[in-house]
Subunit: 224 residues, 2 copies
DNA sequence: TGTTCATTTCAGCAGAATTTCAGCATTAAT
DNA sequence: ATTAATGCTGAAATTCTGCTGAAATGAACA
């Protein structure tokens, strides 16, 4: 799957690229509107992630021009504020979905997958690891029959771990996926949140095998 | 009997159309998800045959959106693989039956007939949560036997909460559902309306368990 | 025009969540 | 055994969220 990211803020662009590449997508970057438009109209992408405000040629114009030229690559528009008007104009211009900054990488990924129509992602509404269950829609987590109360960050982190159960996830991977792209998070923060999670899903059940494992030097993993 | 078939593979779509027309059904075709959704939400069909994988908008989203908008036309979902998980998700999303590809036309016909025979579901006019009752047509709300006077926004908000009872609804979800699409509403407005509702349906009944719950970091939920 | 009611915003507060910090513990490598 | 590096922990610092009383705005209507 090839994805083109058109975003003038290099830092954000780089962070998106990195995250998507970890998900095994092939990512090209463009930093200006014109460059983005040229690539989009000459190369064959599966998805275009398009910033609304760009030097050279703004996102809406690009979108409109591409559609006019019968290029129907799905477009995910990034907009700075939740300006309803922007959203409408963007969708009018041919964007397929939009995302309001700032967003966490998981949100971006969810939209990307939706646009690429991966049926896989539809499945993960309810996640299981051993007797731990996470209901994404209800924001509910249970160990066996016991409900577990989590804060929203704790919830996102657990969700990310469970979506990748059995896999070792580095602290860096965790921060790029669970936090907003512009969050400047110390690795220690992840450690603290891991501890919080353990205190809520492992420590209260000493008779059960702990689910969250530390893999020294690499990261963390959840498995049953 | 009017049937809408949403299927991107033209060959399959044409074949279904032909077969159904031989059975004296009136058949419309849509080749993309968005087109399908538009037709389904504006025209009055007796049945929708919906492919799961579609360009533009997948079957599950269409299904979910239609149900959300109180369109209860029976849906027969066509799925490529016999993924149980897909089926469950599909049923959750409001589909009434399934058919796994590839199928014979006779199988399809059997399901179509079964679904058309079913008595039409009655739309939920009267909503209940514990002893709270909301009469949509009458714009009337009662806690037990006591009538409660609500403003129109309060009413819409309560209706939305009750239609999704037990589910956590974020402030953003609430604003997009209860307010006009172009309303630019602060999250605080939702907070204020929640307070108003509480003052009318919970606070006056201190002996009863409050129905509206805050789930910090996620949103609000009504449940009995 | 004024009055009333509904709607929306504002500003301040309290408490919760998030993040950092500094010291300690554990591990792996010499 | 010594030493870095890495991870863990309690607690403090900071930021964020939700709640609230009250004010501003808007709409309906006499």
């Amino acid at each position: 799957m090839r994805i083109l990211v058109v975003e003038d803020e290099h830092r954000i662009a780089a962070s998106i690229k990195k995250g998507l590449e970890q998900e095994k997508y092939a990512v090209d970057l463009a930093y200006t509107g014109t460059q983005g438009y040229d690539l989009a109209s000459t190369e064959d992408y599966d998805l275009i992630v398009l910033d609304l405000m760009l030097p050279g040629m703004d996102g809406i114009s690009i979108s409109r021009e591409l559609r006019k030229n019968k290029i129907h690559t799905p477009i995910l528009m990034l907009t700075a504020k939740s300006q309803t008007q922007d959203k409408i104009t963007g969708l009018d211009a041919g964007a397929d979905d939009y995302l309001t900054k700032p967003f966490s990488f998981e949100e971006l990924l969810a939209r990307v997958r939706a646009l690429l129509r991966r049926p896989k992602k539809i499945i993960d509404d309810v996640l299981h690891v051993a007797d731990l269950t996470l209901y994404s829609k209800q924001y509910e987590v249970k160990r066996g029959r016991i409900p577990v109360r989590l804060s929203s960050k704790e919830f996102s982190l657990l969700q990310y771990l469970m979506r990748n159960k059995g896999q070792i996830l580095s602290k860096e991977q965790i921060t790029t996926h669970v936090w907003d792209y512009d969050a400047d998070i110390l690795p220690n923060t992840v450690e603290v949140y891991i501890r919080n999670l353990r205190n809520k899903i492992d420590s209260p059940f000493p008779q059960k095998k702990p689910l969250i494992q530390t893999v020294r030097g690499f990261g963390y993993r959840i498995s049953g």
